[in-house]
Subunit: 556 residues, 2 copies
């Protein structure tokens, strides 16, 4: 591939297209590869037992000597969460802003690879050289501070990647997005724009994070007892606004939940959170103060069963219990798939007698992703010749493409791609280039990629109707049955109430074996197949279930 690609620009995604999660985009010019983001994704509901999913980076591993570095646009899991796995295979430098790097370093330390990785802090003032390419950065607004977009200057022209963004005209920390810099980049001419499509189906502008501060203060003002706020740990602006509300209304704040404590520590240390002295208290001290003098900030806004909020709601948290009269703010909207879990916590909180403020009924959350007008503003500032909508499911990418067309990008210059589709640009002309091999790597415990379709199919089968193991010991000399057949079942029927069924099933196996012996079936494989078939048929007729059947033949 080397020769062909000299003088050619390739742009492609290894993750992030037609999905939400595992973002990883690649800009390659000749022998130089720049990677933008290295995220993880949470498993789909059919990936039973899987912990997380990361992109398949075999292309990068094969071309390791060409990879000049990985740029991380911001500190969310779907952008940095794959690093601990990916950097074990790929020895390349990483570039990130101060807060993003702080969050990454915590991860790399836990993975015991911190010292092996070359790390460079960047800012909107940096210019970094990556082989034949140079990268500069512009600040954006998002639901985590220190988010940037990237402008990769290639010999073919500028490639701009927005990162995740919205335009917040009244940002909590006062830092507007670098609109002037974006305008300047746009003015100089941009070859290709890759832009965040998450909210491309939503009309209007996304609201300012500071409106959430008002919503939270409103709740604090009315609350008679403790206030518990659950939000994403990484939303430092929102944590700041809870801190501010505590300061205004004279409450002390306890931080609970492992990742919340971790983020508050890192962000405070690096100067991204401004917490008045003596405002924080330890969870142990909550009960020593009057209820109206206390607030709690916690993880669990997505209803996660092991989260602090869920444990507090179910009186299984070691230190904090939610009591009647407490006010709980769930400052988040459900990520699709989490609606039922959140609903369950809300029910439980109301049952306790808490007052619950959640997004369907109030103003305690806004998205960090730009809506249609934000997206059009970005398109109009950058004015790209070519456009690739990224970071979204197909319908979002399509909606974003339509927005681009509406602001004047020529339809033939808009490319809706899949992961692995490459856009090849040479002499200013773009077309689909070679297909890059990619996919998903499933992580289950310590195993990276050792669970594939067969294992998942088996887990699915087992989860539906359980398993029946049929064991029989045969004589090596004459093939007679020495012991068994024994049937052991798990996840099929409750054995004590189904003795008759299992006795009958044993009879079916006996008859099958007799028949096989008469017919002088000597191959174990055929014998096993016969047992499996006859037993499966019998069980389906009797129960309309199809458990996995595992015949085992021992020979003595």
């Amino acid at each position: 591939m080397n020769k062909n690609q000299r003088g050619k620009l390739l742009i492609f995604a290894l993750g992030g297209l037609d999905e939400i999660g595992k973002n990883m985009y690649v800009v390659q010019y000749g022998n130089d590869i720049v990677v933008i983001d290295a995220g993880l994704k949470f498993p789909e509901e059919d990936m039973l037992g899987i912990d997380i999913v990361i992109p398949d980076i075999s292309y990068l591993v094969e071309n390791q000597e060409k990879v000049r570095g990985i740029i991380l646009t911001h500190g969310h899991e779907d952008h940095i969460g794959g690093l601990p796995y990916i950097l074990k295979q790929l020895k390349v430098p990483i570039y990130a802003t101060k807060l993003t790097m702080g969050l990454i370093e915590h991860k790399l330390k836990e993975a015991h690879i911190l010292n092996e990785v070359k790390r460079y802090i960047i800012s909107n003032q940096s210019e970094i050289t990556l082989g034949s390419m140079k990268a500069t950065f512009f600040n954006t607004n998002h639901s985590i501070p220190d988010s940037v977009g990237v402008c990769v200057q290639t010999p073919e022209g500028a490639v701009v990647h927005t990162g995740d963004f919205k335009f917040d005209m009244t940002p909590v920390n006062g830092h507007l997005a670098d609109m002037h810099k974006m305008a300047e980049i746009g003015k100089k001419g941009v070859l290709c724009l890759l832009s965040d499509s998450t909210n491309a189906e939503r009309s209007g502008f996304t609201g300012s994070e500071s409106t959430v501060g008002e919503g939270i203060q409103e709740v604090f003002r009315k609350a008679k007892q403790r206030v518990i706020v659950a939000t994403f740990a990484s939303n430092i602006h929102r944590i700041q606004q809870v801190v501010d509300a505590c300061h205004i209304y004279g409450r002390k704040l306890a931080v609970v939940g492992r990742s919340m404590v971790n983020v508050v520590n890192i962000a405070s240390e690096l100067g991204y959170l401004n917490i008045p002295k003596d405002l924080l208290i330890e969870p142990d001290d909550i009960n020593r103060l009057p209820a109206h003098k206390v607030a709690v900030i916690s993880t669990g806004s997505q209803g996660e069963s092991m989260s602090a909020l869920n444990r507090m709601a179910n009186a299984s948290h070691r230190k904090v219990e939610i009591l009647p009269g407490d006010t709980v703010i769930i400052a988040a909207t459900p990520i699709p798939g989490n609606e039922k879990m959140i609903g369950r916590i809300v029910n439980q909180l109301f049952r306790i007698g808490a007052d619950v403020v959640y997004s369907t009924t109030s103003h305690v959350h806004v998205s960090g992703h730009g809506s249609q007008e934000d997206l059009k503003l970005m398109l109009n500032l950058i004015k790209p010749r070519y456009f690739i909508p990224i970071h979204g499911e197909y319908r979002m990418l399509l909606a974003h493409a339509q927005l681009a067309e509406s602001v004047g990008v020529r339809p033939e210059n808009i490319f809706i791609c899949d992961n692995g589709d490459s856009l090849e640009i040479s002499n200013g002309k773009a077309r689909y280039g070679p297909k890059i091999s990619t996919g998903k790597v499933l992580i289950d415990g310590l195993g990276v990629g050792d669970v594939g379709n067969i294992v998942l199919r088996d887990r699915k089968l087992l989860s539906q109707d359980g398993i029946l193991v049929v064991v029989v010991t045969l004589s090596k000399t004459n093939g007679t049955i020495l012991s068994g057949p024994d049937i052991i079942s798990r996840g099929f029927v409750y054995v004590r109430e189904s003795e008759q069924l299992l006795d009958d099933a044993t009879q079916v196996v006996n008859q099958t074996m007799e028949r096989c012996m008469k017919e002088q079936v000597s191959e174990w494989a055929s014998l096993k197949t016969s047992i499996r078939d006859s037993l499966s048929k019998f069980l389906y007729e009797r129960t309309r279930r199809r458990p996995m059947i595992l015949p085992i033949i021992m020979e003595v």
Copy 2:
């Protein structure tokens, strides 16, 4: 219990409280029991392999001779879906309106019990005697025709059950709710109201079904090729509006999906659907007509994987394939938990090149349940002394209770109950009565209630990390190993890539058995426990997974 309850009124739910689904409410006066509704519920995500869930009716079975009948308020699954199972255990008459009975009869026929069940058609003109009680009915508006509320006149006073309802001021079939009758009932005095809480958290009035007709016609007007409408099969008003749109815009209509065909047949036969002659075509004939002359109505609005819509979207439907340029209307909102499945179908349809109209972007669906203003109107018409919010999760019941208070029901007269909690009223005074035993019965294939917590726990375990079966054959005479240990795994690791791990695991079992033999462990149970413990520890250290381990010892 008999004596105590003579002269006492008991009201309780066997299903439907703090949940959506399996509605079943009971009014008991002395030796007379009236049941209202007998619904099913779809399984929660932790009920692996379960098909449906019905209420535990052991109380009714024990008191069979007292049960005077089951009244069905309307034909939705969460109100009638339990009947085929419940009527096998409970030989009692059922009462339903014409359409509701038509849908029930179809179910009973499939369950081969139609002829065993005494069935009575009711209307808003009926008065039926149920022991010491009398029931009359009032028409309501809901997302299925022929829905009624029930007024049970007991010696203690009137108990009103609303069924599912909203107030539709411009109903599709012209039949307003019986507001005058409700007013009359209210004027005579109502002891207790049980009312639908589904949308108690939503402000305002729920929109009229006829606004959906306008939305659908708008889409038909613009569509250039075929129009495919997916909606709930039971929403006959909506089917009528699709029929009307076809008639207006000169399209023929094909009906696809088993339950859609079934409902269209029943509703047409009974006169609830008015379909112009020659408007319907067979799915086979779709391709014989120009695309702009055809529409399709289909099941699958919840993204169900086996539904007609999903199969049409994935080109796996036998007769209809969705093509580029077709317009698909998904006339429903996701039931919580179905968001991702629907999102997947929408992505797939856009990918094909279809235009997709779905609820987040247009006006092709309204709820069949009343919002806060509808609920207040019902409360004000009925003017009950006591109030029990029903049909909803806890937070909905709570919101409904607050609405009742806001229109003047005294807080001490509002009872938020759980399934099995009974309200006992005698001499006009209400208090919590005896707890009625109830719960959920899981149906898996032909098994009714044979899957319990142990089986579900095993399925959950199996689904996460799979299973390892360890088999060894021992000598009866001296306990030496004659064959094995053999390890067979399913759903754990992909065996070909993990031979070393499984070899090492076999070594661990061998060592454990040697140790046990040295220590003269002779009990199989202890030997099995030792194998399970050592293998589990080994596998967790090596993989951080905890598969189920099933040691099997054969003796020869």
